[in-house]
Point group: C2
Chain length 476, copies 2
């Protein structure tokens, strides 16, 4: 290793010809370090490229390249007549910013695994998920990807997936739609945000179910829309009450297949009443259909959109409950006349969802594996629900009642008006039971009391143990 003097400074540059770092980079790096450490002062003269190349015994072009690098970084400058000098502006801010030795602390503690406990929401069963099939499919797609994927630029998503979704919706939800009207989204929040921007304007009024899905209410509110809480009765959102409160609303957001959080199914008569109002008011009905494939008695109900209402119904679906929340994929079916507005919004704002899962998911649905998965999980979830219902069976002294709609991935345990479901949620959390308070799903002041229990992600014995735990706390 040579250690010649660098010009008039006492510093040294070492060249290691065995190192994988190219020589010009070794030179530039060491001069940079000399400048940053203050050993080469601002305006200090550097040796000419010829002189330094001779000193270091390297090609002159190598030194030229190193100098060019430092020049472009602003560490040195060249003036005609005065040669190469260290740049004059090297303020303290730069000189005192030491490079830390260990700049990245692993914050594993933040994410240390806390095993999920019943009845945490947002989980699906992981033991029975077809990991092998899914992993093989994803791997196969990306080991030998179509160049069409690279050149893909349809803001509505990967066409084969949109076709597979259209076919699934026809078979499972009675919806007759065209792949051209299907938009792949990055999940429900992305979908609501897109709807908000494409068809709602700030100041518009939107009927929201009371109680209802708080995320939907928040996303629409953030878009500047006035959300109008409309009470839910035994048939779902009360159209009569909606007409009283805001007859001229621009849209109604409903979960007709299984109202969140009450579990109520909107019967045909109410659906038609809602569509009648929408036609009169020239309003849009947003149908959020988040887990309707999981119906344990009878067939899944046809979607509201299937009632000939494709001109003013926007249908929102998600793969988070029926398949896996990890994909963060959902979809919208929009009236054909609105697709261009949705496309404009998609292009101008936000990011279309990742393509990573889309081709594999398209194949998974088209091959029939998706339908098999749903049927299989339906049996498993039906058993879990039955086990939980059985474990929670109200006795003579119990104060709660259980919603018994034979569908979905949650149960609603209703409490008397005197209960405080938020305080109870905290008490239960201390006892190791995670629940969601019903009152949190109300926008207005009049709130009913209850606990929403998500059972999808847990084995029967865990559900039973947590149910006993829950009943123990409730009996106190």
């Amino acid at each position: 290793m040579n250690r010649p003097l660098l010009g008039t400074s006492a510093s040294e540059i070492g060249i290691d010809r065995a190192d994988r770092e190219p020589i010009q980079q070794q030179i530039a790096r060491q001069i940079r370090a000399l400048v940053l450490s203050g050993r080469l002062k601002p305006q200090a003269k550097l040796p000419s490229t010829r002189a330094l190349s001779e000193e270091l015994d390297v090609a002159r072009a190598t030194v030229v390249e190193a100098y060019e690098q430092l020049l472009s970084e602003g560490y040195i400058e060249t003036r005609t007549g005065s040669g190469t000098r260290v740049a004059p502006v090297l303020p303290e801010a730069l000189l005192t910013a030491p490079v830390k030795a260990a700049p990245f602390k692993a914050h594993r503690a933040d994410q240390r695994r806390q095993p999920a406990k019943p009845f945490r929401s947002g989980l699906v069963d992981w033991e029975n998920f077809p990991h092998d099939e899914w992993g093989r499919l994803v791997g196969r797609v990306w080991r030998n990807p179509s160049i069409a994927l690279l050149e893909h630029n349809d803001a509505f998503g990967w066409l084969p997936l949109r076709e597979a979704i259209a076919r699934h919706l026809f078979e499972w939800r009675g919806i007759s739609c065209d792949a051209a009207d299907v938009i792949v989204t990055a999940g429900a929040m992305d979908a609501f945000d897109l709807i908000s921007r494409a068809v709602l304007s700030p100041g518009d009024r939107v009927w929201m179910e009371e109680p209802g899905y708080p995320t939907a209410r928040r996303v629409f509110s953030l878009g500047g829309v006035a959300t109008i809480p409309v009470p839910v009765d035994g048939d779902g959102l009360s159209v009569a009450k909606g007409r009283d409160k805001a007859p001229d609303a621009r849209a109604a957001f409903v979960t007709p297949a299984r109202q969140y959080p009450t579990g109520v199914t909107m019967p045909l008569a109410r659906r038609l009443e809602l569509l009648d109002w929408a036609a009169e008011a020239d309003a849009i009905v947003i149908e959020d259909d988040y887990d309707s494939e999981y119906r344990y008695v009878g067939r899944p109900l046809p979607a509201l959109m299937s009632l000939g209402g494709t001109a003013r119904v926007i249908y929102s679906g998600t793969f988070s409950k029926v398949f896996s929340p990890l994909l963060r994929l959902g979809f919208l079916v929009v009236p054909h006349g609105l697709t261009s507005r949705f496309r404009e919004e998609r292009l101008s704002h936000g990011s279309p969802p990742s393509l990573m899962a889309q081709p594999a998911l398209a194949e998974f649905i088209a091959s029939g594996a998706f339908a098999i998965h749903i049927r299989r999980m339906r049996r498993i979830y039906a058993n879990r629900r039955a086990a939980l219902l059985n474990a929670l069976k109200p006795g003579d002294g119990t104060l709660y009642t259980l919603d018994a709609s034979p569908a979905g991935l949650t149960l609603l345990l209703r409490l008397p008006a005197s209960a405080d479901d938020v305080a109870l949620t905290h008490t239960l959390a201390e006892a190791g039971v995670e629940v969601h308070p019903l009152s949190a799903d109300y926008a207005g002041r009049r709130k009913e009391q209850g606990l929403v229990l998500s059972f999808a992600g847990f084995a029967e014995k865990d559900l039973e143990a947590s149910a006993r735990n829950l009943m123990g706390v409730l009996s106190r």
Copy 2:
């Protein structure tokens, strides 16, 4: 197959015991069809469950289940004393909505593959992409996924990926940051949108490079921010001009490593001048570092954020250029004091990016495969750039000049002020050459003329052929 009479109607219900469709569903489906076809009229009386079960020779419970299904769908109703009847409200809308036989047209024509031609932007090389390694990695992650992935709920992204990004930034960009301050985003638009919501308010003024990246300008404008075009000179954004136009701006958006679209690198003196202004004005500097790993002479320049400016610099990076645009993944490094505001925004709005690619990408970076990929692609892209530069070498008669910054994935071909680069873009498109007009990257009226050529996705011979084609059009 039995074909008994259904009550008083002449219609028939057929039961096929060999069918995979459960019998109660066969019954419900056929009654539904009779209602929808009008053969069972509104208010028509249905047989009792006992009578129908005897007629069909099935268990009474089976008929009860079928009726319950139809009841919950609203097709029929039960009144004490009058038995089960078809629901009275079955308006025309429903009765005339025929189920289409072929509901999904394949819109393949829309997406029929048009092979990309030089110099389309947004592509990376696909031939040399490590498909095998990447596909195997992705497949392995998902065949045997950690349950931590299912239970993952950090809005900032998968921690191992954030750690890998922090390490990469330290090694390649001189940035010393903590994984806790890294936010995985769904690409640049998502990142700019998040910045806009977390640290800018409607009415805030933001310096934007002129010419500059139109997408960034658009996303900030949509957030209600006033974007102030600040001219770019040979050292990048002119801080002096910015001070003239909007000294009290809240933020400056810059691409210091390689200004888009001019290719200019911001030297150290200008960087420090910018940071000085930001400190005085209490402003934020948004450093968009989109392809700085691809520098063909010397090492990549350290990032602006590395200049001790972590308290007021937000760094934005993306995997779209340096790896693959299909992931739609990028990242932000934000000042530690701002992380809680970013977290709030992430939780309240939009969707965090998909987890599908994150675990595999974390492993790909941590294993060193990512650095190998970048070095390999750097050689390939350097050759492509050299071939294109050579093919376009201006002769005595040519009117254009070539930006020669030895970095990035685009070349800027500057045209005289008398040219019309938009018209030229159309003419070239007809000749099969895709370019981007420089004038489109200006917000103000004073626009320079030029063509932005993206060379990353094309083989040398294709670049040379398109360059000849381009020169042929220019010489006319």
